[in-house]
């Protein structure tokens, strides 16, 4: 494409302008990617034209969902409880997981770990944990705890440990060593160094990441609800199973509002906490 532009732009162009090495390299990458995707699409039996041939199905679904049954809001007071369940799951999951991650992070960072081997093991654990999708954890927890929000909350807590343990540990490894040394030089024990030199430095990032975790977990809580974890996700899946599409659309709207509002609220609280972070210490 760009070679066409280039040749068109030249008035007295030489007969043949070979494309630049960079252009050829890019073309090679692009060609390889396209070939891979086409082969992959064939293997998957992915039929992009379905979007046009089956479009009437999408239209019919839309027609069945509209108008949304927003009346659920006042006809079904139990709805608020399910919404509360979803929020509670993500809140407790974040809190419990964050606390565990915070404790483990000190073991996993180079400057506070009791032993390098312990650090390597903890880091490996974080990595494995992050790679495990949290619905796998949920499926196992269902066997032990039964269906419901409690199992989902524990799954969220376990899921938070991997991600936030890594983030917290990275934050601890990046602290300024000077305060630690000065506190240690007046005779502080290892725990006192952590308490008076490291925690004050990492607390703002821990708080910010904690709120980020809450946002992530709220979405995950809805997804886990679909698998049987309770809350509004479960409600949505139920409405879908009994083909009450106006309810489905209403629930989707509630979910959008819920996530948007919670994002704003957590943003607000985070700003207030971080602006007054002196008192946090």
């Amino acid at each position: 494409m760009s070679s066409a532009v280039a040749t068109a732009g030249l008035v007295a162009a030489p007969a043949y302008v070979p494309p630049s090495a960079q252009f050829r390299r890019r073309l090679l990458w692009l060609g390889g990617l396209v070939a891979f995707l086409v082969l992959g699409g064939i293997y998957l039996k992915f039929k992009p034209w379905m979007l046009f041939t089956d479009f009437h199905h999408l239209v019919r679904l839309g027609q069945e969902m509209i108008p949304p049954n927003v009346a659920l809001l006042w006809n079904k007071p139990a709805l608020f409880k399910t919404i509360g369940e979803t929020v509670a799951m993500s809140f407790l999951g974040t809190l419990v997981g964050g606390a565990a991650a915070f404790a483990l992070a000190f073991v996993a960072s180079r400057n506070t770990t009791p032993h390098p081997v312990v650090r390597a093991i903890t880091r490996l654990f974080f990595g494995l944990e992050r790679a495990t999708p949290n619905f796998v954890v949920l499926l196992i927890l269902f066997i032990a705890f039964g269906y419901g929000p409690f199992a989902a909350m524990i799954a969220l807590a376990i899921g938070s440990v991997g991600l936030f343990g890594k983030l917290f540990a990275d934050a601890i490894e990046q602290v300024d060593p000077c305060p630690c040394e000065s506190v240690a030089s007046v005779g502080a024990t290892r725990l006192q160094v952590i308490r008076y030199a490291i925690i004050p430095q990492v607390l703002p990032s821990v708080v910010a990441n904690g709120f980020y975790a809450f946002d992530v977990n709220l979405r995950a809580a809805i997804a886990l609800g679909v698998y049987g974890g309770g809350g509004i996700g479960f409600e949505l899946q139920l409405a879908m199973k009994v083909l009450r599409y106006p309810d489905v659309l209403a629930l989707i709207l509630f979910i959008i509002v819920l996530i948007t509002v919670m994002e704003r609220v957590s943003d607000l609280i985070r700003r207030r906490m971080l602006s007054g972070s002196d008192s946090l210490r």
């Binding site: 990617l33 379905m50 199905h57 196992i140 032990a144 979405r219 809805i222 997804a223 489905v248």
Partner: protein, 276 residues
């Protein structure tokens, strides 16, 4: 602040500054936090008295998962490839969609009405978990790879579109003006001033999104997109725990592999733009 003098017999009226100011805010925070914890624990049906028993049961259950059923590795290779391909097909589609939404959502390129529409759609999409998009598509089109790919592609727009639009808005206006003032049309400005500036970061984000999409496609597999997620949830419901463990291991391998590939490609893209 001087502390209140401690009288031997405390008179109730003589202690207005009961708490030092320093302690008031943390205490209030702790109080609110405690109340929230109690309410949420009630809503989540947390039963602490059952917890030790259930945890013991959980560890008991974990024993069934070992040793993993290595013989099923061969059967699981196909589904693993499906999961990988779902993410691989969805990411470029999502990138193309995000390009449109990003260009339409940037203040310095798009008219105000278009920007509002694009930003609103991106915001709504970001608030909508992929699994809901997938459930809707499955309800309309039936199970299969098509709804899975589309759900993942739509899911990518929320993140990539926003990042792309934000990056475009941060392009130095002087660059845009200098290209425009030599007579470039709007598309030429985009092609020669905006894209070169934002492309490396955008590609790096897109590659990161591929990693996210791999995880998401495992998750979506269980509700109808197919792949390793479906195998896993089938094995769990058939109580074939050893096979399920193998599926978990294959998933771990996929996710770790995707992380490595994405790190490698990102380093390549960011290092002087040899790929970009």
């Amino acid at each position: 602040m001087p502390a209140a003098p401690s009288a031997p017999v405390p008179a109730p009226s003589a202690r207005p500054p009961r708490l030092p100011r320093r302690l008031r805010r943390p205490l209030l925070t702790a109080l609110i936090l405690g109340a929230l914890i109690v309410v949420s624990a009630h809503l989540c049906q947390v039963r602490l008295d059952d917890l030790p028993g259930n945890l013991a049961k959980g560890f008991e259950v974990l024993r069934f998962f070992f040793p993993p059923d290595w013989s099923s590795l061969r059967e699981l290779a196909g589904p693993a490839l499906v999961t990988l391909l779902l993410a691989a097909l969805a990411t470029p589609l999502g990138v193309i969609l995000s390009l449109f939404f990003g260009l339409a959502g940037a203040r310095n390129l798009a008219p105000n009405w278009l920007r509002t529409i694009s930003r609103t759609l991106i915001g709504v999409e970001r608030a909508l978990p992929e699994i809901i998009v997938l459930l809707l598509l499955v309800a309309a089109l039936g199970v299969g790879p098509f709804p899975g790919v589309i759900a993942l592609a739509i899911g990518s727009v929320g993140m990539l579109g926003k990042l792309f639009a934000d990056a475009i808005e941060e392009v130095d206006p002087k660059v845009l003006e200098s290209v425009a003032c030599v007579g470039a049309t709007r598309w030429q400005v985009i092609r020669h001033a905006v894209l070169p500036e934002v492309m490396p970061a955008f590609l790096a984000n897109a590659i990161f999104r591929f990693e996210v999409n791999i995880r998401a496609s495992v998750l979506l597999g269980a509700v109808g997109a197919g792949g390793i997620g479906l195998e896993l949830s089938k094995a769990m419901s058939l109580l074939e725990y050893e096979r399920a463990m193998m599926a978990v291991l294959v998933t771990l391998l996929l996710v770790f592999g995707a992380e490595r590939i994405s790190d490698f490609l990102r380093a390549k893209v960011m290092d002087g733009g040899r790929l970009a």
